[in-house]
Symmetry: C2
Subunit: 204 residues, 2 copies
């Protein structure tokens, strides 16, 4: 699974991404279903059959990060962006004009805290990732780990279509300071600032 | 689904909790599978059949919070503790001697960030919830929303069996200050402090 060529990566994506999409739908249906005991038992048997089939050949541990032969990363198991992780909304990052990273994504029933609203910790989960990616981008894609992050909640965030963005504020040696926010159609709901640190093994 | 008696609550739990447990297993298998394209396609068909069955009768929106006739809350859709939410590890909270809340739980492949380790944002997700619950406990279970939370990462946290706890530091009017941490077998990995605020409608 290492040093895969671009065609191999696309072949694997074509096999596994639709599976992840199907499981994300199932997660939503699991939370919202009002089906009766018999229908739920039948669905459970189908799910257990699928799980056994998938587990017939599997990795010993978590997915980790694989690399393409061009050095590209495949963080497919990642909890926020992983294309093989049904827990990831997923968040798909793109450059923010002027530097930084931004993403538009949808959060449904699986991300609920207060009724009808995003769990405060889910806002933290996503902002941690977006601020961290903005910090990495400054370092030519060298890894950065969260040192400290602070989140200020202006108001609760409705479940639905959301936006997040972050950019670098300044850099001091191995520390990169970034700031960003989460917003819905009516404006900013959560502000974040963080300090991200180059791990020892990734320093020059 | 409102003002359910204790027997109704137990009946619903017996129907839906095993479904959630099965979907959590499927999420893990989806990330770790190395099954070939044909096996994955068959599993996907089984999953889509289960989803259609569950969606044949479902809530229009997210789960929200239901209430038992004794006033007990059923936050079954919650992203951290929900017994009907496959994304929730789940975290099950219990009192911390001397006040506060604690939980022991397991994080597997679905919660990965750095290879083999907990996503920094997942640590934030769980600590936000544990600190918030510690704040609510002080207010005789009145709701509290996150105002501000700060997380300090001492080191990265290995996936596996983990512990989180939080307690109240002080209270000032509608604000409750709590602090806590995440730890593994070798000690504390992430420290957190937060300010939780009573929403207007829940003030005396």
């Amino acid at each position: 699974m290492e040093n895969l060529g671009a065609e191999d990566v696309e072949r694997l994506r074509a096999i596994y991404e639709p599976l992840t999409v199907a499981v994300r739908e199932l997660v939503d249906a699991t939370i919202r279903t009002e089906a009766d005991a018999e229908a739920v038992a039948t669905a459970r048997a189908e799910i257990e059959a699928a799980t056994a089939r998938l587990r017939s050949r599997q990795l010993d541990g978590p997915f980790g990060v694989r690399f393409g032969s061009d050095g590209s990363q495949m963080p497919w198991g990642n909890a926020v962006i992983g294309l093989r992780n049904p827990l990831a909304p997923p968040v798909s990052l793109r450059p923010l004009p002027g530097g930084g990273r931004q993403a538009d994504f949808h959060l449904g029933a699986a991300y609920e805290g207060p009724p009808g609203h995003v769990h405060g910790g889910v806002a933290a989960l996503i902002l941690d990732h977006v601020l961290g990616e903005a910090a990495c981008a400054s370092a030519f894609d060298k890894p950065r780990l969260t040192g400290t992050i602070t989140l200020r909640y202006r108001r609760i965030t409705r479940l639905g279509d959301l936006h997040a963005e972050a950019a670098i504020v300044r850099t001091e040696g191995v520390k990169t300071f970034t700031a960003g926010h989460l917003s819905d159609a009516d404006g900013i709901t959560v502000e974040a600032e963080g300090v991200f640190i180059a791990p020892r093994w990734a320093r020059d």
